[in-house]
C-alpha cells in the first residue's frame, strides 16, 4: 500500500513535470510545431506502450487508429458543425469502434497479430482514400478543415491527451488491474488460473489504446488542418511510435516519454542541422540501441537499483 502511494506521488510528479515543461517550452522555443509533434509522438509511444508494454501485443498497424481518429474528427468538423473538441472526442470514439471490429485479431499472437493489424490499417487507409468516398472523406484529394485551424488551442489539447495517456499508463502500472496484465503478459495460463479474465483484460487494454490513438489523431488533424490520407496513415508513424517506445523502455510510464522526447529531439536537431547524414546517424543509433540497450533507456536506471515508474 505504501508502495502504491509512493507510486501515485511519483506518477503525479511525472504528470506535473510534463505539464509544466510543455506549458513553459513555447515561451523559450518559438517553433511550436516541433513541440507539438514531439507531444504527438510521446502520446503515441505511450498509447502503444499501453497495449505492447502491458500485454505483449505489438500493433504494427497502430497508425490505423490514429488515421481513423484524424479522419473522423475532420468529417465531424466538416459536416456537423460541432465544437472541435467534441469532434476530437468523436475521433477517439471512431477509433474505439474500429478497435471493437478488430477485436477478434486478439485471438492471434506474436507476428501473426502484428501482420494482421498492419493489414487492417492498410485496409482502412485504402477505404478512406478511395475515390468513391470523395464526398465524405475527400478520397485521394485529402481533407481540409482550416476553418478550425488553431495551433495554440490544438497544442493545449495535445498536452491534455498526453497527460491522459500517461495517467492511464500510470494506472496500468500501479493498479491491481495492471498487475493482472503483467502476470498475463508473462504467463497467460498461470494468470488465468489465478483468476485474471484474460480475454476481457486484453480487450479493455486494446480498446483503451485504440481510443487514445484516435484522440491523438483527432488533435493532430485539428493542428494540421489540410492533409492527404498518406499524412495520417503512413506506416512511418507506427514505426516511430514503436521505436520511440522501445528506446525508452516499454511496460513503464516514463520509458516511452523519455524515448520519444530524446529521440524526437535528436531527430529534429539532425534533421535541421545535418540532413545529409540523417539516415546514417539515425539508423546507426537504432542499431546501437537494439544491440546494447534492448530493454530501453530505463534499463540503465533499473541496473542501478533505481525505482522506475
Amino acid at each position: 500500500m505504501r508502495n502504491a502511494t509512493g507510486g501515485t506521488r511519483y506518477a503525479v510528479a511525472v504528470l506535473a513535470t510534463l505539464a509544466v515543461a510543455f506549458v513553459a517550452l513555447p515561451q523559450v522555443y518559438g517553433n511550436q510545431s516541433v513541440l507539438f509533434t514531439m507531444m504527438t509522438y510521446m502520446a503515441l509511444a505511450q498509447g502503444l506502450n499501453l497495449v505492447y508494454g502491458f500485454t505483449g501485443y505489438l500493433p504494427f498497424g497502430y497508425v490505423g487508429f490514429f488515421g481513423t481518429g484524424a479522419y473522423a474528427c475532420s468529417i465531424l468538423v466538416t459536416f456537423t458543425g460541432l465544437p472541435v473538441l467534441l469532434c476530437v472526442i468523436g475521433g477517439g470514439l471512431a477509433a474505439l469502434l474500429i478497435g471493437l471490429i478488430l477485436g477478434p485479431l486478439l485471438r492471434l499472437s506474436g507476428a501473426y497479430f502484428s501482420i494482421a493489424n498492419l493489414a487492417a490499417s492498410q485496409i482502412i487507409y485504402y477505404v478512406v482514400s478511395n475515390e468513391a468516398l470523395k464526398p465524405l472523406t475527400g478520397g485521394p484529394y485529402g481533407i481540409k478543415i482550416d476553418q478550425v485551424f488553431a495551433p495554440t488551442a490544438s497544442y493545449a489539447a495535445m498536452l491534455v491527451v498526453l497527460l491522459l495517456t500517461t495517467a492511464l499508463a500510470a494506472y496500468f502500472r500501479l493498479s491491481r488491474f495492471g498487475l493482472g496484465l503483467r502476470a498475463m503478459h508473462q504467463n497467460p495460463i498461470s494468470a488465468a488460473v489465478a483468476g485474471v479474465n484474460i480475454v476481457r483484460a486484453r480487450l479493455v487494454v486494446w480498446l483503451v489504446s485504440a481510443t487514445v490513438a484516435g484522440l491523438i489523431g483527432g488533435v493532430y488533424a485539428w493542428n494540421l488542418s489540410v492533409f492527404y490520407p498518406d499524412a495520417v496513415f503512413t506506416l512511418e508513424i507506427s514505426v516511430f511510435a514503436i521505436v520511440f517506445a522501445l528506446f525508452g523502455g516499454v511496460g513503464t510510464v516514463i520509458g516511452p516519454l523519455l524515448g520519444a522526447g530524446l529521440l524526437y529531439t535528436f531527430y529534429a536537431a539532425i534533421g535541421v542541422s545535418t540532413p545529409q547524414y540523417f539516415q546514417l546517424l539515425y539508423g546507426s543509433l537504432i542499431v546501437f540501441l537494439v544491440l546494447f540497450l534492448p530493454n530501453g533507456l530505463v534499463s540503465l536506471l533499473v541496473r542501478r537499483k533505481l525505482h522506475v515508474l
Binding site: G30, N31, Q32, S33, V34, T37, Y126, S129, N130, E131, G138, G139, P140, Y141, G142, K144, D146, F149, P151, L224, S225, V226, F227, Y228, D230, A231, T234, E236, I237, A268, G271, V272, P275, Q276, F278, Q279
Partner: protein, 417 residues
Amino acid sequence: MRKFLKHAWTACAAGAVASGLALSGGAAQAANAPSVLTIGTLYASSGPFAVASKGQFEGLQYWADTVNKDGGTYVKAFKKKIPVKIIAYDDQSSTATATTLYNQLITQDQVNILIADFGSVLTSVGIPLAAEHKMLLIDPTGSGANFFTKKTDYLADVSIPSSTVWPLTLGHFLLGQKIQRIAIIYDSNDFDASQAETLKATLEKGGVKPVYYHGVPTSESNYTVLLHTIAAQNPDAVIEFGYAPNDIAFLRNLSSSGLHFKMTFTIFPGQLLDLMTKNVGAKALAYTYTYPTPPLVQTQKVTYGPNTAAFVEQFKAAKNAEPNFLDVAGYNTGLVVQDMLETAPAFTQLSFHQALMDMSGKTTTLLGDFKINENGAQLGELFSVGQLVPSGNGNKMVVVYPKEKATGTAVYPAPAQ
C-alpha cells in the same frame, strides 16, 4: 498678388517639407534594408518526392546564384539590390517533418520569403501555417485543387497550372480526333485523380463516356493485370495519370505485355524525358503522347527573364547538364519572386501578394503566361499535347495540339513497335 505669393510660398514650403520627408524616408528605408534577403524553402533528399523536389530546388538555387553574381535582386521597397540567401531544410518527403520545418523557417529563421517544397503533398501542410503567420507562401508546383477554394492573400501557385486544368487540352484533342473508346487509369492522389476527373468531365461533355475509369494506389508498380483488364474493354486510347515511377512501371509493363493501343498517354515523358528514356527505353516510349513542358517546348517571347532557349544555354554552361522541367519550374519560381520584389512598393507580405496579382495576366516567363486568380491558383502556363516520335536513336517531341502551337501532326493510330 500678396495673397498669391503667400500661397506660392506655402506651397513651396510644403513641397520642400514633403520632399525632405520623402528623401529621409527613402534614406531610412535603405538603412532598414536587410543585408541579405532570406528565402526559406524545403526540399526532399529521400522518399517518393526526392527526384522531383531536388530538381525544383536545383533550379531555384541556380536562380539565386545567377542574381547574386549580378549583385543581388533589386528590391523596390528599398530601392537597391540585395543579395539573396537560400535557407533550405530537408523534409525527406515527410509531411510531419515538413510541418516542423516550415514553422522553423517562419518562426526561428524569420525568412523574408517562403517557398514551398515540390508537389501538393509537401505544400499542403505549409498553407495553414503560412496563413497563420501572415506569410505569403510561394507555391512552385503544389497544384492540388483543394488549396484554391477561397480568396487568400497568403498563397500563390507560380510555376505550374492547377492540376484541374492540366487535361483540358488533352480532352479537346481526344474529342477533335473523334476517339470514342477511351480508358482512363489514374493514381488515387490529388494530383492524378483531379486530372482524371477533369478529363472524364470534358469527354462526357463532348458526348464520350470512358469505357474504363479506374483508380489505383499511388504505390502501384505492376500494371500487367490492369493492362489486360483495360485491353478487354477494347479501347482506342489509354490515358494513364501517375507520378514518374507509375509511368515507368506502366510503360514497361505495356511494352512487355505485347499489347498495343492506338494511343497511349502518360504525364512524365514530357517532364523527365531523360529519366523515362533511361528506365523505359526509347522504343517503348515511341509514339507515346504526353504534356510537353519547357524545355522540351520553347517559349520564345517573354516579358521577363530569359526565354526558354536562352535559359537552356545558360543552365548547360553553368551546370554542365541539360535542364528538365523541374529545373525550369524552380528557376521560374525565382524569376517570379524577382519580378515581385522589383514591383512591390513595400517590403510586406501583403505588398508582395498585391505585386503578384498586378503581374498576373501581364507577365510571360519561360514557362508561359503567368496568370493567378484571387484564390492563388495558376490558370496560365497551360500545357499542350505532344507526341514522342522516333528520331535517330531516340525520340523527339512533336507538339500536336492545339493547332496554334503544333509543330507537327499526330501519328494516329500509333504503329506497333
